[in-house]
Symmetry: C2
Subunit: 273 residues, 2 copies
DNA sequence: GATAATTGTTCCATTATTTGGAACTTGATT
DNA sequence: AATCAAGTTCCAAATAATGGAACAATTATC
């Protein structure tokens, strides 16, 4: 009850530190993980703003837990434990499991890259991907987070939100102009979201990355309050807007199918009112 | 200094709790992540052995940090933050980066699956994989950990360790008989490790999984104290021991090349003594 | 080669957080 | 209604985290 109320606070003091010790530890972990190379103590000191003594203990604990590794030259790198935890949580993700055959089918139909993404706060996190003949890797983007307001899946997922939730997300969104076509403000985005609600699908017209277009559809799971979506993405030179429009119907169909199966397999979470 | 000394304690009281608050939080996280489905409060209570009040706060914090998600029916699932953290740490892994083209080349040569693994404690963690025509996924095993003593890469990596380190690892190893060919004790394993040191490569003769064989070579990075290896793996019906022996040379060569490049690119970690 | 500057590590009294038992809701079951 | 189980809240005591400052160990500078 007290946690939910945070959103109602008139002005949070710079995102609040959050969860005491754990929050700080994860913040430090993230600081190291998001950095380019190995980070020396002083680098992290600057990034994290923690006092020396505190940071030192925090890092020691993270190393002890295997979340970080300390090299011989004393610099810190991400540890392998993170990979192991992620592997388990990914391969056990029931939602991804349900969606996968549908993604594959869409890929067979279109020949282009197909994504599954889930909304987290103001971002879309890519959870699965099916791609053309390309060597198997953790795949370019699984786990990657992109802003919701300028991606196909993101806008599709936003269209599922209720008025209050949507407002809350938009209030926290920073409209960064990635390309010439990126939404500059909530106003135009809201108008497009209306369209998306009507059509049942969303386009990304080179809004996040130049020369990249996609068509996406929202996946709604009645009873569960997850907001997700799937998309078919391709380079502008190969994928015209006409082509994308033609794919909209199968994408919508796949999204609906996933939603339906998910309800059955995941079970509605102690249903509605 | 005090941490290093832990290994010297005559008998650790069941692995010790470790790093205070953080350790407990991660333990709870792991309990949820390694479970099959969503876990209810009571399930986790039993698994973790924490008192109710403590566990409740721990879970709240993990949810607040995005490491867990609480569903409508109050059960807990792994959150997306873990995936994002892992994505960043994987894609930024400089070692993997160096190794990748070599893995690919080995795959082209053999047509079989190629793995890159790193030793962590008594286990091998798979960090990259190149596989035959198969749809792109996080790939069956990236992040997976297998016992070192019964896998090709594992034994190869163990052969790099000094006497004391090796003893320490073996003391912590539990010899589980996965197949008819699995090592039953440290004695036979040590003998094989001698051979591996002499030959420069290791075989897995269906020791971990029946019908699966591989040939592996250790990657040593002078100056850095990482123990890793690569392997070529295939089903027994297709890959004979003769075939594996023929691949041993190129596997060794690739491993050496990776080691050399790694020294250059990663920089030796503040050299030797 | 001596001195200064930087970086990493340790210490410890103060402070804030965690702890964990028990009481309390809430919702289902008999 | 009464019983049972699951989840949540409370609070004094115990513990762990805090962070400033002193201390090493390196590396840079003169």
């Amino acid at each position: 009850m007290s946690n939910e109320a945070i959103g109602a606070m008139d002005e949070a003091p710079a995102e609040a530190s959050g969860t005491g010790t754990l929050g700080k530890a994860i913040a430090v972990l993230e600081a190291v993980v998001t950095a380019d190379g190995p980070q020396r103590f002083t680098d992290i000191l600057a990034r994290s703003g923690q006092p020396r003594g505190t940071l030192y203990r925090l890092l020691s604990h993270l190393v002890e837990e295997g979340l970080l590794i300390q090299r011989r030259d004393l610099s810190y790198e991400p540890g392998l434990r993170l990979l192991t935890l992620a592997y388990r949580s990914w391969s056990a993700n029931r939602f991804r499991d349900v969606a996968e055959p549908h993604l594959r089918r869409l890929h067979d139909l279109t020949g282009e890259t197909v994504h599954l993404g889930i909304l987290r706060q103001t971002e879309i996190v890519y959870v699965d991907k099916v791609e053309s003949r390309q060597t198997v890797r953790m795949s370019s983007q699984i786990g990657k987070a992109s802003p919701a307001y300028c991606t196909g899946i993101g806008k599709a997922a936003l269209s599922l939100l209720g008025h209050a939730e949507l407002e809350h997300v938009l209030a926290r969104t920073e409209f960064h102009p990635f390309t010439a076509h990126t939404h500059r403000s909530a106003a135009t985005l809201l108008a497009e979201i209306e369209e998306i609600r009507r059509d049942g699908h969303a386009f990304d017209r080179e809004e996040h990355e130049a020369e990249i277009r996609c068509v996406a559809a929202p996946i709604s799971i009645p009873g569960d309050d997850i907001a997700a979506g799937i998309s078919v993405t391709g380079p502008a030179y190969r994928v015209t807007m006409e082509q994308l429009s033609a794919w909209a119907a199968p994408v919508r169909a796949a999204a609906q199918a996933i939603g339906k199966e998910a309800v059955i397999r995941l079970g509605p979470g102690r249903g509605g009112p």
